[in-house]
Every structure is written in structure tokens, then in C-alpha cells.
């Protein structure tokens, strides 16, 4: 009898700890969920502001997005495109392109291109390149990534949209060619895609909020 009680007590005790622990986590999660969402949006907004100046558009860039499936752009995954309008006139599109061939896996990029095909800015969202060598693609470490703003498919000509070692015009880094090559190639592909599909990208009806967006996400 006392053995039975002992086991029961221990079981109840374990259950109580599991319940208390879980409810503590649940309460904290509920309390901070909004703040976390706000943080994530703020980070995204700041990143978008770096590739396209906020004065150039007046729509809600964060919500006005579509998903594109193109094997060349997203390395097999859909690419989110944020669309900028000024008084309903298309201004630019910001692609979350992926360079699949970095030195150490994929490099995720934000590439802003305006309606004239001119790059408004490029930023690296995430990468796992070698610290001190390949990470010079980060805006905080060198100004290399700034070199793309103002360029377009004609400047330089498309066959020279490569790093110098491949006969192009963009610098590679000392000791690191693969990383910049992957980034330059991804930007060139994005520009070519935008050149071909600009009208459909910017002319599709703007989704109201995130719901329409969710639908295009499921394929």
C-alpha cells in the first residue's frame, strides 16, 4: 500500500512540475508574442529600407508581397518579392534572391530593382561564409555590396556582370572568389528575371494583407 502511494505521489509530483513549467513558458510566450512580431517586422523594415529608400514609395511594402517560383532565383524555394508603389504607380521590386553556390552553402540576398531596371541596393540577409574572408559581402564589413546600387543590365553589359576573374567588372576579394562570384551571379540572374517578368510582377493585384499571400505560398 505504501509502495503504491509512493509511486502515485511521485507521479503526481512529476505531473505538477510539468504543468507548472509548461504554463510558465505559455504565459511568457503569450506576453511577448506581439513584441517579438514587432521586432521581426522592424528588422525586416530596416533591411528593406537599406535596399530602397522609404521616400520612393508610399505603400505598405512589408505587406505588399508576392511569391515567385523560379528554379533559377530561389534555389528551388519560392522567392518573396516586395513591391513598391508611389500612388499606385509601380516604383520597384525587392527580391529575396538566393545564391545557392556560396563557399559554405546558400547566401540569402535582398535585391532591389526599380522599374528602369536599375539596382536600388543589395544587402546580404544571411550567409555562412568564412569570417574574415567571404564575410566582406556584409555591408557592415566592407562597402563592396554598395557597388551594385545604380548598376543595371546595360551597365555593365550582361556578359560582364561577373567578377573580374570570370572576365567581369566586379571585384573579388583577396583569398575569396567563390563568395563574391555567387553574389554577383545571383544579382545578375535576378536582373534578368526582372527584365523578362517585370510587368507581371508589378501588375498583379496587390494582396490585401497577408491572406492572399498565404494562398500563393501553398503550392
Amino acid at each position: 500500500m505504501s509502495d503504491y502511494r509512493h509511486i502515485l505521489f511521485t507521479g503526481v509530483l512529476l505531473f505538477a512540475f510539468a504543468a507548472i513549467g509548461t504554463s510558465m513558458v505559455a504565459v511568457t510566450y503569450e506576453q511577448s508574442r506581439e513584441q517579438i512580431e514587432r521586432n521581426e517586422r522592424q528588422v525586416l523594415r530596416r533591411q528593406l529600407n537599406q535596399v530602397i529608400s522609404p521616400e520612393r514609395y508610399d505603400n505598405n511594402l512589408l505587406e505588399d508581397r508576392i511569391e515567385i517560383s523560379d528554379p533559377g532565383l530561389g534555389a528551388g524555394r519560392p522567392v518573396t518579392v516586395y513591391r513598391a508603389y508611389m500612388q499606385e504607380t509601380p516604383v520597384a521590386a525587392v527580391f529575396t534572391s538566393v545564391a545557392p553556390d556560396g563557399y559554405n552553402g546558400s547566401i540569402r540576398l535582398l535585391v532591389g530593382i526599380d522599374v528602369n531596371g536599375i539596382v536600388t541596393g543589395v544587402r546580404v540577409l544571411s550567409h555562412r561564409e568564412t569570417p574574415g574572408l567571404g564575410d566582406a559581402i556584409e555591408a557592415g564589413r566592407s562597402d563592396w555590396i554598395e557597388g551594385f546600387a545604380g548598376r543595371s543590365l546595360g551597365d555593365p553589359p550582361v556578359q560582364r556582370w561577373r567578377v573580374r576573374r570570370d572576365g567581369g567588372v566586379f571585384d573579388q576579394f583577396t583569398g575569396a572568389t567563390i563568395t563574391p562570384r555567387a553574389v554577383v551571379n545571383a544579382i545578375r540572374k535576378t536582373l534578368l528575371y526582372f527584365d523578362e517578368h517585370q510587368e507581371e510582377i508589378l501588375a498583379r493585384p496587390a494582396p490585401d494583407g497577408a491572406q492572399a499571400d498565404e494562398e500563393t505560398h501553398d503550392e
Binding site: T10, F17, I20, V25, S32, Q35, G132
Partner: protein, 227 residues
């Protein structure tokens, strides 16, 4: 159970039984995160907080929890604590959270936390357990910060870079550039630099301990010391 005195608890955590230098526990986050001073400090504070809370809770419930189930209960306490800290950091120190990334949830697997729960908190009174958590946490933080500062100075030539991630706008210009036009020393930033740096810190600690141990002996032995 003999009561351990508070100064001794503090000495143990900070020096004699330092989790990172003597017990060599929690090395995975220690080596991975310490690329800068601020990263080290961030992980150090999170770990200290976890240690204090888990030690206190474990001590408070030590008479209630039967020995057969103590380990699952400790794991529950530690896992809930770390998750709460992780969510809170995501909410209030978002950018630091983005940098420390997976190493915050990994505090759960830092053996020094369940080690302290089992070896100390489950056998001692609340205040002693609290002090032990604080001392062990600070000892761990001290090593994180030292290693972070070393690697930052040698690897990048800066100190306190990105302080604003933790201290807000106030700290925007705390970053010191110690060496202008420093080209960087890659080894220090990469994982080998972490191992070498930690090895050197442990060596220095052992050297100090040896010197200390030898001094009284020499005084006692006088001229009869071996040649």
C-alpha cells in the same frame, strides 16, 4: 551536511572550481560564442540567470522531490527556465538574440547547470544555492568575457563593438578601435582561436595557482629547498 561558508562558495565559483576553467563544462557555447566581448557577456548573463533560477528552485523543492525522480524534475526546471529566458530575450533584446541564436536554447545542455543542481543545490539551503548559482554564473561569465575580449582585440582590433545590442543607444559609441587600419588576425576569430585562447587562459590560471601553492612551501622549507 556541513554548511559551506559564503566566501568559500564565491571562491569556488569564481576561481577554485570555475565551471569553464576547472570543471571544463559548457565548452560548446563557450567556444562558439566568444568572438566578441559583447557576445560573451550576453551568453554569460543568460547562463548566470539560468543558474541562479534553477539552483534556487531545485533547492526550494529538494525535500519534496524523491531521489528516484530528481533528474527529470531538474531537467524540467532547467528547460522551462531557459525557454522563458529565450523568449524574453527574443522580445526585449532581439538583435542580441539574433546573434546568440541557437546558443540560448543550448544553455539547457550546458552540463554545468544540471551539475550544480545535482551536486550543490539539491543538498543545500536556498540562500547557499542562490549564492552558488550566482558565483558559478559569474565565474563562467568572467571566462566568456575574457576570451571574447581577447579574441576581439587580436582578431579584429576592436573592443566593446556592438555594445548597443545590449545597452541600447547609450552605448552606441562605446566601441573602441584599439589598432587603426588593423587587417585582422583571422585565426583568433575562427574556432581554433577559441581553443588556443581558452588553453592559454587555463594555463595562466594554473600558473597562478602553482605560484600560490609554492610560496608557503618555500617559506616553510627555507634553505632546505631542493636544488
Amino acid at each position: 551536511m556541513s554548511e559551506t561558508s559564503y566566501p568559500e562558495i564565491a571562491r569556488n565559483g569564481l576561481w577554485n572550481n570555475n565551471p569553464a576553467l576547472v570543471q571544463l563544462l559548457g565548452l560548446c557555447p563557450l567556444l562558439a560564442v566568444t568572438t566578441t566581448f559583447i557576445n560573451g557577456l550576453g551568453l554569460g548573463i543568460a547562463t548566470t540567470l539560468t543558474l541562479i533560477i534553477s539552483n534556487s528552485v531545485v533547492s526550494a523543492i529538494r525535500k519534496l522531490v524523491r531521489p528516484e525522480v530528481r533528474i527529470p524534475v531538474f531537467v524540467l526546471v532547467i528547460a522551462s527556465t531557459v525557454t522563458v529566458i529565450e523568449i524574453s530575450m527574443n522580445a526585449w533584446f532581439h538583435e542580441l538574440y539574433l546573434i546568440l541564436g541557437i546558443f540560448i536554447p543550448l544553455i539547457v545542455t550546458n552540463c554545468s547547470i544540471i551539475g550544480r543542481a545535482e551536486a550543490f543545490a539539491s543538498k543545500n539551503r536556498l540562500r547557499a544555492a542562490f549564492t552558488d548559482g550566482l558565483a558559478m554564473g559569474l565565474g563562467f561569465t568572467a571566462v566568456l568575457v575574457t576570451l571574447g575580449a581577447l579574441r576581439e582585440i587580436i582578431g579584429k582590433g576592436t573592443l566593446f563593438a556592438q555594445s548597443h545590442l545590449m545597452f541600447g543607444e547609450l552605448a552606441a559609441n562605446w566601441s573602441l578601435t584599439l589598432i587603426d587600419d588593423y587587417r585582422g588576425f583571422l585565426l583568433a576569430v575562427l574556432p581554433p582561436g577559441a581553443f588556443i585562447g581558452l588553453g592559454l587562459i587555463i594555463a595562466v590560471k594554473n600558473l597562478i595557482d602553482q605560484r600560490r601553492a609554492r610560496r608557503p612551501v618555500r617559506a616553510a622549507a627555507g634553505e632546505t629547498a631542493p636544488a
